[in-house]
């Protein structure tokens, strides 16, 4: 629990959540890939890492930056997502339940790949992909890119597969599985 090594002011952690199956990871080091990477992208990556950790250990996971004061609400769920004004646009709760975990894991990992393919910004590309209205928008962006030899990028079945997976998660705003009342 001590994070003096990372050069952050020591904090006295006052809360202790008395459950045997709960992991808190104070993490002063971030998941930054670039120096100018936005908080939203980092939070999404942290969330993905936490959900993998949950699958490994079967414990509820909470990753927080070293400087923050821990507050664990009594009604916690499986994985904690660090609250942020921008991330609230897509993930509305601070805690993600087991029911939604798989959906988010698939969506974020697909978004990471698609952000690279569509040449989205390094700063917040993953988040940008997740806020697109439909998968068609992402596909159009990918096909508008050019390869190194200057030829327009072509879509193959691998990419369509990833897009399909993202579509079925229904994370994108206007992607819904048709369920109609009769």
């Amino acid at each position: 629990m001590d994070n003096r090594r990372a050069g952050v002011n020591p904090i006295k952690y006052s809360i202790i959540y008395e459950t045997p199956n709960f992991i808190i990871i104070p993490l002063p080091l971030t998941f930054k890939y670039n120096e100018d990477e936005a908080d939203v992208n980092i939070i999404l990556k942290r969330f993905l890492f936490a959900s993998y950790l949950y699958l490994l250990t079967n414990c509820a996971v909470m990753i927080i930056p070293g400087k923050e004061i821990i507050h664990v609400p009594p009604s916690r769920k499986i994985v904690h997502v660090q609250p942020n004004a921008t991330i609230k646009q897509i993930i509305k709760d601070d805690w993600v339940s087991l029911h939604d975990l798989k959906k988010w894991m698939v969506a974020i990992s697909a978004a990471v790949k698609l952000a690279y393919e569509g040449n989205y910004s390094h700063r917040s590309g993953t988040f940008e992909v997740l806020t697109q209205p439909t998968v068609g928008h992402i596909l159009a962006r990918i096909t508008s890119q050019k390869t190194r030899s200057g030829v327009p990028k072509r879509v193959d079945s691998r990419l369509i597969n990833i897009l399909d997976k993202l579509q079925t998660t229904e994370v994108l705003k206007n992607e819904t599985v048709v369920d109609t009342k009769i």
Binding site: T134, L139, T143, D156, L163, T176
Partner: protein, 240 residues
Amino acid sequence: MRQLLIPKYERFDFNQTEVEEINEEGEKVKKPFLEWTDENNQKKILSVNTGIEEISRLFDKYLEQLKIFATTKSALMGPVGKILEQARVKGLDAEFLKGYGISTHKNTIKTPLDSEVLKPFESAIDLLSLLLQKVPRHMRPKAIEIISYKVYYRREKANVEFWEKWRKDFEEFLKNKYQNIKALIKECKLEELSKKRGIKDFQSIVQLPKKLRTKELQGIVDEFNKMRKEIIFEGEGEEE
């Protein structure tokens, strides 16, 4: 003081299936957002999102019969892109949109119009004009944009799947016709090209860009297409 007139837009949910209306007695009554009977005579209650899904499915069904194998979005969409543009700019009258769509179809598409082609086309436009009339005016461009990208995604996906299958079938066709790759290279006069690009198997011949094909190889491709009875319009079809 003079008051500023700022239009108040109510929050509109694309997933809502019910709308509140005031009846003759002045009471608030909940009504379904949009009722629709599909081609199987099934009654459905649609929201904007599910309506958009239905429209894109119907347009996709129409475009599937036209067999357009293009690479750009505007070419893939065919007359649908132009219809959506007219719906955005001019009006939502279903008959106007149908007339416009038929005229662009006649001018640009080689597939003749028959009842099978027209059926999904007409019902898509009917639903489009019904749905957009219920959507607030300021949200219409957004709804139209979503429809166009959904149709594009469906078409591109079908296109990719088609070429994937075509390549597999063509490879099998070549394997059955020729004993080994050397016989094929000799017949198609691909000796020089095979040295340059390192052609060693049938798969690399299948993936050869159209520009690099010799006359003999193109003849084999045409023979294969005739066998499959696929209509592939010249210049639009294959990937380069």
